[in-house]
């Protein structure tokens, strides 16, 4: 019985394409999360220059939030298209 259960991780998916897409999304989001902590965020930590009136340190976080939103949205649209 032991041999039937694999030792590694199993990301089940009916479609290999979706599996690849999901792993790409995770990778993209991982990078975006790193952008909001050390070592990337310190490069954008200064309040100047101001962009649209906001300090750089704030606008950077909003910018990453928008990128995260967009990447999940793109993934979702493909997901839905594939389902239908």
């Amino acid at each position: 019985m032991n041999k039937e259960i694999p030792n590694g991780l199993v990301f089940s998916s009916n479609s290999t394409k979706r599996k690849k897409r999901a792993l790409t999304l995770v990778a993209v989001l991982f990078v975006l999360q790193i952008c909001l902590i050390w070592p990337i965020y310190p490069m954008f930590a200064s309040p100047t220059p101001q962009i649209l009136g906001f300090p750089l340190s704030i606008i950077w976080v909003v910018f990453i939030l928008v990128l995260a939103f967009t990447s999940v949205l793109v993934f979702f649209r493909k997901d839905i298209k594939e389902e239908s």
Partner: protein
């Protein structure tokens, strides 16, 4: 008529609308446990979006958010930094949990974990963890409601009465309608909060400085520039270090989707698409924190030295010459923030406490099975948990905030288990149990003994390292769960 009477009148109208919106949906759901805890699995995107958004944005966001921006500057961005990604695991876990819930009748995350890892002890442990973590969270919501009504009534309404009135309303609709009462009221409260937050976040900088840009110009040219440099300041006013900021963001992002009152909504969702679309749209709720922070920033130069920082919003409202109707609406909005989290929390704590905790006691389980008693018992638990939190909010001197800080580290410890449940077939009950216990103990140890930390990171990170190590090590060293059981959760 005195101003505070008009303000309280507006809050009263708000409470009545909330009560009506909380009671009506209860007429439609079935009188079963699934109806009470999971709304007969019928929540659509519109309601789920507001339930998840409004449950997370609590008194902490409405009072604590401006307080953090005011006293700690860019440190407040941490709340947005973890929420950007924190919801995404739910995109993958949520549909799996929903499908298993619909098939096997699960309505809490501990039921899933108990079944996958074949461990009643794990379920009981999660029930204790959930209730212990959610009570301080609920207590803070109640304190927020009491504080608001007390401040605006000029002290005429004492804290105990303010918290009592708001939470009596919550108690009635949660008791009567269960999760659908939470759903509909959160939708109303969510829309209300969004409008109030955006209005204030734009209006206050405009009135005080002539706009958001000019406000930041002045802040950057003042001593506050240091605070606006990420990662901002600590609560004692010294610059926060990147270790602390980064690890706090990571732990919160990992724990975000694990909060029981949050994860459980997967079982209430109508379809997979509902869950996925809610996750996709979630950052639009996250953006709502920006105006909340602007409220705090606007007060930095105009009202220096206000303590505690959390009282900055009511302070600004009272000091500025604002129309009385507006103050009333903002107070009602703050109550909405408190109640929209409080209702989901008390509902989740009661459901989990009964389904995953009390049913593990054989005598109670036999009694529950002898008739339709479960929903009744959960309702009793709603009352008991509300009273315990009320006691802590009004009478006890216990330091609730430190309990809550520990809670985030504790909640994050569920993540490795939930991940392994769906993606690592080899994980077993022994590994899950030792991982969870080890993770929680290490988190608690470093929470209370920070001087032993090798690096100044959030204690939850150390907990997670030990948790994952034990989960992997013990699982590989012991026998796996039976194939049929594992196959229900992972496809290999």
């Amino acid at each position: 008529m005195e101003d505070w009477i008009i303000i309280l009148g507006i809050c009263g109208i708000y409470l009545l609308i909330t009560l009506a919106m909380g009671i009506i949906p209860g007429l439609k759901v079935s009188h079963s446990t699934t109806g009470y805890v999971a709304g007969d699995r019928s929540m659509n995107v519109f309601i789920l979006y507001f339930v998840l958004g409004a449950s997370i944005f609590s008194s902490f966001a409405f009072l604590g958010g401006p307080g953090w921006a005011y006293s700690r500057g860019a440190a407040a961005l941490y709340i947005i930094a973890y929420g950007a990604i924190g919801m995404v695991p739910f995109y993958f876990f949520g549909p799996k949990a929903r499908a298993l819930g619909a098939k096997y009748g699960f309505v809490t995350q501990a039921e899933l974990l108990q079944d996958r890892f074949n461990s009643k002890l794990l379920s009981a442990l999660l029930a204790v963890l959930t209730v212990v973590v959610l009570i301080p969270y609920l207590t803070l919501q109640m304190k927020g409601a009491g504080l608001v009504l007390n401040t605006i009534s000029d002290g005429v309404i004492p804290n105990w009465m303010g918290a009592g009135i708001a939470y009596f309303v919550v108690l009635i609709y949660v008791f009567y309608s269960g999760v659908m009462g939470v759903g509909w009221t959160n939708t109303f409260q969510g829309i209300f909060m969004l409008v109030i937050a955006w209005f204030l976040g734009i209006y206050l900088p405009e009135k005080m400085y002539g706009g958001i840009g000019p406000m930041f110009d002045e802040l950057i040219n003042s001593e506050f520039k240091q605070a606006l440099t990420a990662p901002g300041l600590t609560s004692s006013g010294t610059p926060w270090d990147w270790w602390g900021f980064s690890s706090a963001v990571l732990v919160s992002a990992i724990g975000f989707s694990m909060w029981p009152h949050f994860f459980m909504k997967a079982f209430a969702a109508k379809s997979d698409r509902t869950i996925k679309l809610t996750v996709v749209l979630y950052p639009t709720f996250q953006v709502f924190l920006i105006p909340i922070l602007l409220i705090g920033f606007s007060a930095v130069l105009a009202f220096p030295g206000v303590t505690p920082a959390d009282s900055i919003l009511p302070h600004v409202l009272l000091q500025m010459d604002l129309p009385v109707i507006l103050i009333g609406l903002v107070c009602a909005g703050t109550l909405a923030a408190s109640m929209s989290s409080g209702d989901a929390i008390v509902h989740a704590a009661a459901s989990v406490g009964v389904r995953d905790g009390l049913t593990k006691i054989p005598a109670i389980d036999t009694w529950l099975k002898s008739g339709d008693h479960e929903r009744f018992l959960i309702r009793i638990a709603v009352v008991v948990i509300s009273l315990i939190a009320y006691y802590f909010a009004v009478f006890s001197e216990t330091d609730i905030v430190s309990l809550l800080l520990g809670a985030y580290g504790g909640i994050a410890q569920m993540f490795p288990l939930v991940f392994a449940m769906f993606y690592w077939p080899r994980a077993n009950g022994k590994g899950a149990l030792t991982g969870l216990i080890g993770g929680i103990l290490v988190t608690l140890f470093f929470l209370y003994n920070p001087e032993f930390k090798p690096l100044p990171m959030h204690e939850g990170i150390y907990g997670l390292i030990v948790n994952i190590g034990l989960l992997i090590g013990v699982s590989l060293a012991t026998k796996p769960e039976e194939v049929e059981r594992v196959k229900r959760y992972t496809e290999f």
